[in-house]
Amino acid sequence: MSADVFAPWENPKETPLIRFENVTKRFGDFTAVDNLTLDIYEREFFALLGASGCGKTTLMRMLAGFESPTEGRITLAGEDIAPIPANKRPVNMMFQSYALFPHLSVADNIAFGLKRSDMPASEIDGRVDEMLGMVQLRQFAKRKPHQISGGQRQRVALARSLAKNPKVLLLDEPLAALDKKLRQETQFELMDIQEKLGTTFMIVTHDQEEAMTVASRVAVMNTGQIKQIATPDAIYERPNSSYVADFIGEVNLIDGKITSSTEKSCKIAWQGGTITAQPPSKLKKDTEVRFAVRPEKVSIATAKPKSGNAVQGKVLDIAYLGNISTYYVETATGQTIKAQIANARRLSRRSFTWEDPVWLSWSDTAGIVLTE
């Protein structure tokens, strides 16, 4: 890996800014976070991704100081933060509801934390103005939160949580309340701001697109545990389990057994034939595996392709999404495999439709063999 790529997690000499060490959090009988260990590095934009109830918000709230771990230890810059109350931690949080104080103006909201810090009163106005400039809301400084739009409120919340220049900014579903277009714009704004300030951002989201767009690394969580931590492309291209493969994006999962395997290539027997694929390592014969292939890596044609893995079926359903179409193809053995094709040609010139017999194919390197 070249030196100018930001990847401190690859460098064993780097010390992480935040460490969760065997952290468990229980609420009564319910285990929200289960013996979790996690390192987050300075300047990272770290995303915790998971379905609701997976423990991601609890993890964040423990870092903010609103919950304390039942077991384990959280350190920030090498210091155990358990004895530090929420209002003394160099960590700020942007709330999902924004929690802007309705009785205070935009400027007073941003100044709220500064007035309670050791910043001299003479410098507060300047800092507030600087933050307003950063989120381009100078002309709205005197407005109350209910007098500005949802997108502007989101930016006020961001400015307020960054005003005290925290070591870590926690973002709890920061864009969930925005519509899709605004959300995409804001994602880039967030990334720009994060890059400019160099503050460590930790975002909690259930929106995988959001996590993939903004984050340097993504942790996929389920039932209080981290299933995989990796860069967005690695999570998508090389998921380590069928849970992650299935959770991130769309995927075809095919169960089969290894018939032969070397380090580089293996053959998987399944109901519909044999698949050639790249195994993670040499696998034993008869190992039960799951072959995962993304729909966009599956091609669809009327004639049998000359090379690669191929399986015949008939078109069961077509989901037309404008730019792409997803074809649901039923194989002879009754399994449905999805193939996603960019609609480069007009719809009327589509060469196959419902009930047509088609061939699905993918290359030997398109999929991934999962043993978990």
Binding site: A64, A86, M93, F95, A99, F101, K144, R160
Partner: protein, 296 residues
């Protein structure tokens, strides 16, 4: 058309039950006392026609209102009523806010029960409850007996028939009207505001003063008006628990009507009392409107 009918119903209600009686009271307040049934003149006579109506109008005057300014009993009673109402509103707020706050902090499953307990006293007659306070506050009452028993005092305190008894009973009677609106605003308060305040460096106490208190303002204002308005015109409590020196306009009004049988002066007292009360009501509504605008 249907819209007009829908709007008309409350207006008719208001006209029939507020404006018409108000007109009658206003008319009586402009009349003169008379030993007759009804005990005032002039009386409007439909059979006399237009000339009779002019005659009727010419006999109305502001004599009774002028009288109110001449006898210092009246303005002293108004001022004293306002003083008692203001002090008891403040005391009710001081006692009611912590109760409302505690209710809003209580576990969710307890809240309906607590609310019930607040409303429960209304199930007993108000008169009986005020009488009960006589038993508690009198020199031989439970309170004095208790204080003597624990040795806090040597001789019984004179609480009954003083302003103190009036304050205690007003607070007791009207505190639910203070608690309920404050509780309603506190209960709606998004807990993430407090977390945000803490996250930004506030201690719990600072967060309470800089977030909870300002955000509960609408409830506090509503509660204060709900206590203040009836307290100004309160009659039963000062009559039963107050002393001879406790001057309240409700008591004066009662005496004018039933002791003196001077309906015109009594009506004038009532009209002025209404004006004193209308001003805070208008202020209150303005505030509500502003609140609604702010929320929209």
């Amino acid at each position: 058309m249907r819209r007009a009918v829908v709007i008309l119903i409350p207006y008719l209600w208001l006209v029939a039950l507020f404006l018409v009686p108000f007109g009658i009271v206003l008319k009586i307040s402009l009349s003169d006392i008379a030993t007759a049934i009804p005990p005032y003149t002039p009386n409007f006579d439909f059979s006399a026609g237009w000339a009779g109506f002019k005659e009727f109008l010419s006999q109305l005057d502001f004599e009774n209102f002028i009288w109110l300014t001449e006898d210092d009993l009246y303005w002293k009673a108004y001022l004293s009523s306002l003083k008692i109402a203001i002090i008891s509103t403040i005391l009710t707020l001081l006692a009611g806010f912590p109760i409302a706050y505690a209710m809003a902090q209580a576990p969710k499953e307890w809240q309906p029960t607590l609310m019930m307990l607040i409303i429960l006293p209304f199930w007993t007659s108000f008169l009986i409850r005020v009488y009960a306070w006589m038993g508690i506050l009198s020199t031989e009452g439970f309170l004095n007996q208790f204080l003597l028993w624990i040795g806090l005092i040597d001789s019984p305190l004179q609480i009954l028939n003083t302003d103190w008894a009036v304050y205690i009973a007003i607070i007791y009677t009207y505190i639910p009207f203070m608690i309920l609106p404050i509780y309603a605003t506190l209960e709606k308060l998004d807990p993430s505001y407090l977390e945000a305040a803490e996250d930004l460096g506030c201690s719990r106490t600072q967060a309470f003063w800089s977030v909870t208190v300002p955000l509960s303002k609408p409830g506090v204002i509503a509660g204060c008006f709900l206590v203040f308005i009836p307290a100004v015109g309160e009659f039963v409590i000062p009559s039963l628990l107050g002393g001879s020196k406790t001057l309240m306009i409700g008591k004066v009004l009662w005496d004018e009507f039933f002791a003196n049988r001077d309906w015109p002066v009594a009506s004038a007292v009532a009209i002025i009392l209404l004006l004193i009360l209308v001003i805070p009501i208008v202020l209150f509504q303005k505030q509500q409107e502003r609140q609604q605008e702010a929320d929209s």
